[in-house]
Symmetry: D2
Subunit: 289 residues, 4 copies
């Protein structure tokens, strides 16, 4: 078990009345536990509508913003699940795939698995099925695609990344998803907060493949171990998990993100409170929104 | 109220063990009523798994097929809803859109509304918002895109259709969806059976836009009035509503489809029940009308 | 030395007054010699303008066609050069490339060498420079791209072929050209008539790379030895060497092509005429147009 | 008659031995006259090879560069031709087009006139042929495409510009060329130096269409009258007229360009020298390379 502390601050300048939908809160599904969190919006919107997508567990907040500066701050302490990935996990034959994951075989805006079908077969079709094959996909991407900030934009698809051989984390993940789907392995995108050894901290994107009846995470960028991920969004591709969707004339003016690794109090029970009484490293539990 | 009778027969040759997922049954949601239907598979599969997608109401059947000939036959009598479209219906501002339709604003595999955003603004951005604007989109497509069988394939996207100015019904619908989404009007694809005045009968694709709090159908091909549609599938684009998804070496050898318009018994009340007293309109295999 | 006999017949139906430009005559440049030829157009056009492009040596005929049937017939006997390709030939460093071939490094409509630059580097960048590297390109294409008639059309580019991994001879050649240019090896397209061991005979397309100060032919399809090629057109890509460019409403109704391999009389001088006095296999020399 | 003075300075950092080809000198063809010019390269290359492309008249300099800083300076005084464009000029029917301009109807890397053929027909096909139609093309581009620096890059094609409705001067020109070719009007790209009313000065790109037996310039950006253009390059699209083609690891570190409008002494002979005796605005004639 591990603890992460997230401290995110987004500054915007709103030029005209606008509507925003944020997807920046850690999910409360699965083994991940949100120990404490606050999401503040300044100035506070008249009406603030929070929700959770039933299938994905993605949480969102919607609100109107008036002209002027706007600041979003999200702070959370999250207990991340330990990730135990078996060394061997079989691919599930399509006729045994649950209905619910069949859709994760379909091509999407950024993952044209239909167009890259022959490529996937050539590169990975002869490998033995199973988790090793998906790992081979992640390895191939790591070795073949150069991580180049600015080499892609919000319209870049897996096919383009395959041709230009450059991209950023979401492009790496999209290509992994695309190859998996082309091989009839359900796959989807996962985004969240990751503690990198080297700054700057940023949102991160990895992918997940359905193997042996469970979702298994892969990070073709190898920028951090996947068990450092604090999950925020799960979707078919990046369009489903944008951290902000903005309708109107709104400009981001600053973004600050700190992700810290905390000691888990259960792992270190002997640790006594500091004289001041404050718990070092643990956010004082706050009312969850 | 109207009645349609569907008689579909699909012949395949299965070259190796395969898995099929069919989406050919009329939906039972909304105002549409399936009075009677049979779906037969020859040879009958050992296991046949039927289901219905919770959000869309799309129905599907999955089964394994063994090498040899395979025949699917679907016959149904369906009462179609009368379609009353108000002459005026407003667009719903994004901050009032229900969470459930927000996703219908996103770009998808075949509908790159992000790429066509400026085009949509140029062509339709200055029109008064409301149902008239979506009708203007459908009219523009009808006048600008040539219906050319064979001009597109299963990989063709709305952007390509916009450039090549040619396509078939699903391409017309994809372009309509794309323009709507680019204008912040939720839109989605609807496929089904339509009785055309001129043969051959075929599956048809139209699109639906969210206006005034309801989904409204549009057919940019103008091949048939939209109230002739027997709905089979509703989805974000064609990838969600393929009538057959085939995993394995299976070739279609023949397709026969007849769609007939029946008189509604309420319109023709003199027709008496058959002597056998059987319940018309219940699944029990019935003599087809 | 080898002799080929070409017998081409093209039938068209002209629906409205049109203008045609044909590029179907064997070139008279280099080591290739046209021993005899006739090009007939039925009905004969009022004005028939023949020419030869100064740089490429491509020959063309332009004429107006009136409504009705139109038949083009080209017959020629051509002595093909023996192709002696040294086992080793160096790539020419860019600073030593003649001005005249620098343009053959540029991307063109069908050969986006700029887009495939990183791919070319990954696949072939570490190979030792020289003819062996270009042969490796041709081999890779032969092994990676499936020859599928109908998988491409007149708009298909090398990038698309690289992604879809399927194409026909001109696509194979375009991809070879693209990889070469991306590695700073000048390359261009060559089209002509080739005698295939198996019918049907057809136009063929191969590519040529500038190595050791000369153009060297490569055929990634391996459909026939390159020394069987009767050269008709040389250009930067397929747009430069279309065998027919048609302005107007003209439909091809039939195409017949026979390519035969003849014995060269000079190579076999002892061969006596057959009793009938006719020369077996050699067209009676005809006045060249 | 008009006089322009060009003062261009390009600074590079060469990281490894490289080869450069520059196309920055004003052409000496047609009515344009280079009164004086110097092209200096610092440090001076061991060997400097100058040339002029026979068809286009484009001039180029090739040389090797060694690691370290590299500075190119080009200064020239050029008498520009007066541009008299008749109000009416006919399109030339394809069967009367000279062989030499037929190639300017073909699609190229950046101008996919084949893909945009139906669009061109829809937008401009019904307009009366002639110079007015090409002007309508330029007008449409001016009104439909937004000038957005950074919205395109060196791989952007006319099709992409048509879809994204944004670009810079070369994109505007490429789209104009593409529409012309799709309508069977030969068209090509022209680049050079232009004196803009508002800084910064930069290279500029416009296009030229073949009308009434002559090339006529059009600038869809309307950034400056076309008779202010000092022609440097003429080609089928941007790939033919790159101002620098660099083979090797060379980074541009600075670019300075000043274009000034001079009074022509022959046009204004009565103008007396300023008291200081210096000729205002006229470079002292320098030895031409």
């Amino acid at each position: 078990m591990h603890l992460s502390h997230i401290d995110l601050r987004l500054d915007y300048e709103v030029d005209a009345p606008a509507h925003l939908r944020l997807n920046i809160e850690a999910t409360r599904t699965g083994a991940q536990t949100v120990l404490s969190e606050t999401l503040s919006i300044e100035p506070p919107p008249v009406r603030r509508q929070a929700g959770c997508e039933p299938d994905s567990g993605n949480r969102f907040v919607r609100f109107d913003a008036q002209p002027g500066p706007l600041t979003i701050a999200y702070r959370a302490t999250v207990r991340r699940p330990a990730v135990h990935v078996p060394a061997t996990l079989p691919e599930v034959p399509v006729n045994q795939l649950p209905d619910a994951v069949l859709g994760d075989l379909l091509p999407t805006r950024y993952c044209e698995s239909d167009l890259l079908a022959r490529c996937a077969q050539q590169l990975f079709g002869d490998l033995p099925p199973g988790i090793g094959r998906v790992q081979a996909i992640a390895d191939w991407i790591h070795e073949s695609i150069v991580y180049v900030p600015g080499s892609s934009d919000s319209t870049t698809t897996a096919r383009e990344v395959f041709v230009q051989r450059a991209g950023v984390c979401r492009d790496f993940a999209h290509l992994g998803i695309t190859f998996c789907r082309a091989l009839n392995i359900p796959a989807r995108l996962v985004v969240g907060y990751v503690w990198f050894d080297e700054p700057p901290q940023d949102f991160h994107a990895v992918f997940e493949a359905w193997l042996g009846g469970q979702w298994v995470l892969f990070d073709p960028t190898r920028m951090a171990p996947v068990d450092r991920l604090v999950r925020v969004g799960t979707g078919r591709d990046a369009k489903d998990v944008a951290f902000s969707t903005i309708f109107g004339a709104v400009r981001m003016t600053d973004k600050k993100l700190a992700v810290r690794e905390l000691q888990d109090e259960r792992v270190a029970p002997a640790r006594t409170p500091a004289p001041s009484g404050e718990l070092r490293g643990i956010e004082k539990p706050e009312p969850v929104l």
